[in-house]
Amino acid sequence: MCAADFVLYEEEFRHLEDALRRLRQEANAKAVFLIDKNGQQIAAAGEIEHFDTTSLASLTAGNVAATDGLAKLIGEREFSVLFHEGQQDHIHISIVAKRAILVVIFDDRSSLGLVRLRVKRANGELEKVFEVMLQKGEKEAQGSTHASPFAEITDDDIDALFGE
């Protein structure tokens, strides 16, 4: 396989969650999600118990991928911001550090202008964390500093997963 695995360690996870919590508070949003472009949820903050977060991540990634395709068709590199306006709730979607998607769900207690402003500020912070993650990943690739828990997986472990 060509693509390196996406590895998230405790420390960066905490930094990402802190940044999301701050963004949610400052933007007066209901919930904030950070999603990998392949559709996996990375971190979240806010009223997440009201949402089916797995479906939300997959559909958002599909949405962004389709919009990316549209951008390329008209000669754009990407559409970096998407906004969906509902009757009560609205979704603001933006790309972070080229590989992640930041989703902010908000209602009329906030406004599009406020969300855009706060997202812009949070972007810088999130990008820094991704940079650290990338550096760690490169270090791992060069000479492992973190023992992979999967190196020891046995066929029995895998069979047990399928209840054989």
Partner: protein, 194 residues
């Protein structure tokens, strides 16, 4: 691209069901969904046309339990099989960890099978993947129909790299879980190598 989350102790992998239109990709997922216990599955999403043809993708998150303390999640996707949805098919292969090719066993669909495998190979290449190395299983679906090509002949025509191959009837579930297990195992073995 497997997503390993050390903070929440989760491994997330993506499996894509590929194949020509009406070969039974969605039916595979529906069978898996119906036969999996509620605590092991999330909601199944189908982005389909009014005529129930897949428009963008079907999505089914499956939680297989834990391995070495890590919760193992597989995200299953199907692609739209109809030829003109190629742009969408390409998007869904992004970040894929393993592929199941569902072939339609009916004689008149052999050309469509061959064309679809070629299309898979090409679309994987565009994402920097290689069908020769990616975890891959081949399924001969609709074995219950009367006009099917012999399994040996299908194997000779469609086999790419001696991948595990399964005869199936997705509507009744024959071969469905065997196919899924095969590709999931290959993904985990791949993870072990890295």
């Amino acid at each position: 691209m497997t997503f390993i989350n050390y903070a929440s102790k989760e491994i997330n992998c993506k499996i894509v069901y590929y194949g020509p239109g009406l070969c039974g990709k969605t039916t595979n997922l529906q069978y898996i969904y119906n036969k999996t216990s509620p605590e092991s599955k999330g909601k199944m999403i189908s982005l389909a046309t009014e005529a129930d043809r897949t428009l963008f993708f079907d999505f089914l998150p499956l939680d297989l339990g834990s391995i070495r303390g890590f919760t193992t999640r597989f995200h299953l996707y199907t692609v739209p099989g109809q030829v003109f949805y190629d742009a969408s098919r390409k998007l869904i292969l992004k970040g894929v960890d393993g592929v199941v090719f569902v072939a339609d066993s009916q004689e008149e669909r052999m050309e469509a099978n061959i064309e679809s495998i070629r299309n898979l190979e090409q679309n994987l290449n565009e994402h920097g993947f290689d069908l020769a190395t990616i975890p891959y299983a081949l399924q001969f679906n609709k074995r219950d129909l009367s006009n099917v090509v012999a399994a040996e002949e299908m194997y000779r025509t469609l086999n790419y790299k001696r991948e595990p191959t399964f005869e199936a009837v997705a509507t009744t579930g024959v071969g469905v879980f065997d196919t899924l297990k095969s590709v999931a195992k290959q993904i985990l073995i791949e993870l072990k190598k890295r």
